[in-house]
Homo-oligomer: 470 residues x 2
């Protein structure tokens, strides 16, 4: 069941005071207990209740992060890593109080190595900062969730987004991490080789660990060459099923499409209102093709043929860089556009991902559920991966509406699990999806995760109350 | 330093007897202590001393594996999982005696789902068995190490091979595993969704764990569409550097080449003798291009241009399926061909992998080292990944030669580590590379791995003495 938070608790006042005393000489005014700063660090972009930490520390280096974690470990004070605060499942809520460790000032691009097509950045660098820095290298970093999230946060939540169908998720994008363990040691999880069979996969263990096993302070990323040719288009369909069937056939045909995104009519209405566009109000695919000129055009031909068979009303091409940027900005702000449908509303979002063969059935049944529900919804999805979001747009002060949205969300997750899918394709668990995690992995799978958590964070100080820890 | 084995030890006789008594009713004559069977299960394909287990159990189902592990756990008897015995770092050596758990009879193809481009197989299915089964589906499983290894063993060692430059390694190929934990529970690590952010990445934790955290009994794999067009060629070069520079530029240009393999003149001589081919004795690239007809030809044009600039003497194309099969059979048997250079010899092999920008320097310095060494060597590599093998062809009864080969191997690994590479790109650690693992990950990285091992196998019964466990 979609979780509501338990009441917030706090570490003993003397433990917290001891941590603050220990860190003040190191951090000066980068350590604060100001109510405004704490408040800002206790909330994410979702409907989850804000839970401010007791203090916020702004780290500027891996060594500072290690010193902060050591102080917290000594006094058993919770540590909640914080990047941009754009997560969606209560990841940054200080359920047990403690210290929020803000890495947003760790914005150094440590190295860009064009000849190896990789780079190393501090955890606070955001994806757009990185891509702006890369502009003259001919390379880009493809992972693109909606928010301009920090790279550290994206690694911590195993983020993905619109390009994952072609370029993979953070699981594939990260070559190595620097992490600070729960006892304050600094570990580099891997070298820069493209592949390795050297022991347990520490890199993948920390990717998606949501700050519960340690703090990610640096990330070494694979980069990709900017394609010679990028073609973007928008294509409306007569029905949701027609759009989804086009996606399924495109994937099954093996076209290496770079982006293939679905928006339902409600979401299109929201996008038009928010971004000033005038797209048709219909189930719509946003598409992008990458390659050499000839190869990109060949892919377009294949997908136009598939779409045509499903009654597509023609591709509207974004011909200039400016038009392309506008098109994807409209898609990337879909979440905020959805929220703007209802003034004062908060959002929360399903994030299921199912095997592609089940996607049409899953989406059609979900569409019917949404139509039958009193909750305002909008559907948007990375459908090439089988992943989609139903955005529930709710009045945070209306418990009945929230309860209805939760019930709808539960139903969507149960359906995805029954179809061999996952409760979360890319948003992560936080505390919002802990009950679903148990349904997905079963008690023995959860026991394995708990054993790992206990081994790496025996005192339970790392982002407590998230994923598997009580 | 390249490790020699400590003397073999054994569990107490009464513990072993108790396990055998407990399992005989379940397994009948699939449980054996015959010397010949034990001997066969204590050796891999490398120079490592054979270390037979005390008994061998042939499991036929996940439930049987669980029952076997539970019996061993109860009596603290080591369990060594065994697939085809084709690993190279002493992975199957029964360093502490115990029970070898042979999964080679678990050969069921549980499900093939063409519409999802995935399949589920039992751990004992080999890669060629799977591809034969898939023949009429239009799909294939791309991971191709030299040996016809079992899929379970390939997952356990994070194997890759000739196609990894395009299709990734077992890390990318596996969607989910069924594993039996060290206390005999059955856990499925993930659903079949293409991506998930649902908790710790148990799948990747078991991939590359070499039987030290549990036993892999079923594997769900991503499959790929057989390309419309496959073009294979062999191309000799005037120097090793010319061949490697061609590889580096090909990768940096972003050509999605399917295979790009380097063989040095010694290896080419060995291949000709073993496979009855008549390739030029020169540094040589074996190449393969996948795509639509137009796209494959476009890739060929780009790589021919790069190769031409480096003095390549022309591509010899394998025009028929038969010729292509012969070409890749010659490449895949390179290890056996190398051993055949010296009758009665055993092999061992370096397996370093470095960032692509360092590959030319790494290979040139390694070539000079080999030339200066008394040991017979042959070099072959998955150079598109930065991964190559120096095969040391040694007389197993000549300790001086083995010592010289070990010294050469040490030097090669140290060089790779200094270049931010790994000691093992795909063969794994076993007990042969434990010392290198410490050099690569440092004491704190190793401490994390040990914590994971201790958490998931607290009694140390799973393949003891490998990776990090004493």
């Amino acid at each position: 069941m979609t979780a509501a938070a338990a009441p917030q608790t706090h570490p003993p006042a003397d433990a917290l005071a001891a941590v603050l005393d220990a860190l003040r000489p190191l951090l000066g005014d980068r350590l604060t207990t100001s109510a405004a700063v704490r408040e800002q660090h206790g909330r994410d972009e979702s409907y989850h209740d804000p839970m401010p930490p007791d203090a916020v520390a702004f780290a500027e280096s891996t060594e500072e992060v290690a010193a902060i974690v050591r102080a917290c470990a000594e006094h058993r004070v919770p540590v909640i890593p914080f990047g941009t605060g754009t997560s969606l499942e209560g990841h940054v809520a200080a359920l047990k109080g403690g210290l929020c460790l803000d890495v947003s000032r760790m914005t150094e691009i440590v190295a860009v190595r064009p000849e190896d097509m990789d780079c190393t950045v501090q955890a606070g660098v955001t994806r757009t900062q990185l891509n702006e820095h890369l502009r003259d290298t001919g390379l880009f970093f493809p992972i693109a969730p909606g928010a301009d999230a920090s790279i550290g946060g994206m690694a911590a939540t195993r983020a993905s987004g619109t390009n994952a169908v072609r370029y993979g998720t953070m699981r594939e994008a990260v070559l190595a991490l620097t992490v600070v363990t729960a006892d304050g040691r600094i570990v580099r999880t891997a070298r820069r080789a493209r592949k390795s069979a050297a022991g347990y996969d520490l890199t993948r263990l920390f990717i998606g660990s949501e700050g519960t096993l340690g703090v990610i302070t640096e990330v070494t990323l694979r980069l990709h060459g900017i394609p010679e040719c990028i073609l973007s288009a928008v294509c409306p369909f007569p029905s949701l099923k027609a759009a989804v069937d086009t996606v399924i056939e495109t994937i099954q045909t093996g076209v290496p499409i770079a982006r293939i995104e679905l928006l339902d009519p409600n979401q299109m209405r929201a996008v038009n209102a928010y971004s000033g566009t005038d797209y048709a109000i219909a189930p719509t695919l946003f598409l992008e093709f990458h390659g050499t000129e000839a190869f990109a055009r060949e892919q377009v031909g294949m997908v136009e043929a598939i779409a045509g068979e499903h009654g597509a009303k023609g591709f509207a091409w974004a011909d200039t860089l400016e038009e392309r940027t506008k098109l994807w900005a409209a898609r990337h702000t879909a979440y905020y556009a959805g929220l703007a449908l209802k003034p004062g509303a908060k959002g929360f979002s399903s994030d299921v991902c199912v095997p592609i063969s089940r996607l049409a059935a899953c989406l059609e049944e979900t569409e019917a559920d949404c139509a039958a529900s009193p909750v305002t919804t909008a559907i948007v999805g990375h459908v090439g991966d089988g992943n989609f979001h139903v955005l529930f747009i709710v009045d945070p002060d209306d418990p009945e509406e929230i309860a209805a949205a939760r019930a709808l969300n539960d139903r969507i997750v149960e359906r995805a699990l029954a179809m061999e899918g996952t409760c979360t394709g890319e948003h992560g668990v936080g505390y919002g999806k802990m009950a679903f995690l148990e349904a997905e992995h079963g008690p023995d799978g959860l026991a394995l995760m708990r054993a790992v958590k206990q081994a790496l964070d025996p005192h339970g100080i790392m982002n407590p109350g998230k994923i598997v820890a009580p």
